[in-house]
Symmetry: C2
Subunit: 361 residues, 2 copies
């Protein structure tokens, strides 16, 4: 176990204090904390507390409004567009998801496209809010342009994740949360720290040549869409990333494609932005809008067990169901605590000092 291992409670208290310090109302500070730390619990270390100081820097740069007036600006019985008023995406998306759930209660499904928001943490946190309502949840977001479409030198899309969370009966839920690239940026960061090459099909250099350099994004290179190259289906990964952009931004009035605001506060905003902030898309589908919940759940259990009992290629590695690794990480980290890298602890200590908030200790 890591030298720095903190309990979920300890990390919660600390993170909440930071969000309160920048002016978030009590309820929002708690919601943002739960959303952010769900990444640390689920083993997605790149998207959790390691980004806390990044969110604060956006607030310091005036790009995050800690007290947003999040409101519906257009709606029908099954849809809404939400203006996030430059709030933390962690909070804006969570509230938009509640609107989707309320609409699903009324008419079977609810679909909310969000403009004027910021990064929302992991998609799974938002999609999974539907589970306790016996609904299927969807969450998507666009993100800073780091991905080159098939045949392109230019970076025009973010890693634009898609999450679908579907409840089961006795089995744990199905939770698929995937960046539409071969590998997410967090995977590159791990290889950078280890000074290891990337596998083929993850990145290209600024001329569009294949490369194995995990630092290539800093030199104008790009992440590649899921598939890697045309022969391996990168046009499909590109299409999926594009779909996320359409639902998150073209439907909401957020920025899209290369105009999505960057996460690092020191990167200048793109010129001639066509929309407001970044965009998300949240959906909720009542299971019983299609068939009885009991019937659905017994078939979901049957489906899940069928996959988990498939013949593995290697007996040491059973076939997994989407969501299995993250659920296991969560069960483990709730008990054993959350390991933090030295660099993250140093970053949080500096943040504490700057904001005058007691350090994590």
């Amino acid at each position: 176990m890591n030298a720095h291992c903190v309990s979920y409670e300890q990390l919660t208290d600390y993170t909440r204090a930071i969000f309160l310090r920048i002016g978030c109302p009590e309820e929002d500070a708690m919601l943002a904390t739960r959303a952010l730390l769900s990444a640390d619990l689920r083993g997605i270390d790149s998207h959790g507390v390691a980004r806390l100081s990044g969110y604060v820097r956006l607030w310091e740069a005036g790009r995050v409004n800690a007290q947003p007036n999040i409101r519906v600006i257009h709606e029908t019985p099954s849809t809404a567009v939400v203006d996030g008023d430059r709030g933390l995406g962690l909070v804006v998306a969570a509230k938009a998801m509640q609107i989707a759930i309320e609409k699903a209660k009324q008419v079977g499904t609810g679909w909310v496209s969000v403009q004027n928001s910021n990064h929302f943490g992991i998609a799974a946190f938002h999609a999974m809010q539907a589970l306790q309502e016996n609904m299927i949840g969807w969450a998507m977001t666009n993100a800073s342009p780091l991905v080159a479409p098939t045949f392109s030198k230019d970076r025009l899309l973010g890693t634009n994740p898609i999450c679908v969370a579907a409840p089961a009966g006795e089995e744990p839920p199905f939770v698929a949360d995937l960046a539409t690239t071969t590998a997410a940026n967090g995977k590159l960061e791990i290889l950078q720290r280890k000074e290891q090459d990337t596998p083929t099909g993850w990145v290209q250099d600024k001329e569009g040549n294949p490369t194995h350099d995990p630092n290539i994004l800093k030199q104008g290179g790009a992440l590649l869409p899921l598939g890697g190259d045309r022969e391996h289906g990168s046009h499909k990964g590109y299409a999926l990333g594009a779909i996320v952009d359409l639902f998150s931004a073209l439907l909401s009035g957020a920025n899209y494609a290369p105009w999505v605001p960057p996460f690092p506060a020191y990167v200048p905003m793109p010129a001639q932005q066509p929309g407001k902030g970044i965009g998300h898309f949240l959906g909720a589908m009542r299971v019983d809008a299609f068939r009885s919940v009991d019937e659905y759940k017994s078939h979901m259990d049957h489906w899940i067990r069928g996959f988990r009992s498939a013949t593995p290629i290697d007996v040491a590695q059973p076939v997994l169901v989407p969501g299995d690794p993250e659920r296991e990480a969560e069960a483990d980290r709730m008990v054993s605590g959350i390991p933090l890298m030295d660099s993250v602890v140093e970053d949080l200590n500096a943040l504490s000092q700057r904001l005058g908030v007691p350090s994590l200790g």
Copy 2:
């Protein structure tokens, strides 16, 4: 151009005569013909008239009902479940899409899950019905199990395509239609005919070893999910294929996973089927349920132009927008006719003789 090149009109008359001959009502015969031949027009030769005799064989085997009573068996304002009554998927899915569109007119979006159907041709035909209504269309279907999930020897999923069709303004629509595998089965068939190897990451043998043999499916091998292997994101392709199965079958009561009925009529039906027929999922989202159509369309045009004018890696290959190659094929084939391979012409001649329908000539 091919020795056998027939006009769209000629192929339409022929195909319609076949569907009428097996007992389809006039309207259904025309709808099935339009759906089937949309594949030939769009250059997806594997899914068009080349499969006509396969559909007839399913009818001969009693698995296709030419005069189905297609009906809604469960609904809410934004959702429905449709029982296809073993009809041609070409017809069942098209009618289910109309139900989705009607629901979207009422409450903003409409979502229809379909049980008890058969193969529906290309997903794009169904999703694109939404375009003329200023709606975004979705179409998915599950299919015969040919795909091994990550880490599995067993084939548990179909190539399970996802299509999203979104209207634009002056630009042609965005139409992304993708199998959730590295390569669709039709691509393997092309390599089989050319006696060429498959690229890495397309298929595995029955023990789960990588192979380049395009005939490996006949020896218990499997197609691989988009990504190819774990290191290149195959768990994402697997998750996407699984999502299609959930929406198409777990929500509708159709068969799922390895229990989806095979397309070839000579392959025995799986034992202990948990549902009815194969499943589809159709969706329609009114653009103006989110924002004004004019605003949306001007931004879609901006988005599309941004991608099409991106700096290409190779000046000879500009960056494409999903749907470009298929639209170009359609424009060309409407004028120049549809090329048919010798084997397809022979198959259609045999079909004509068997059914007593004048041959294509």
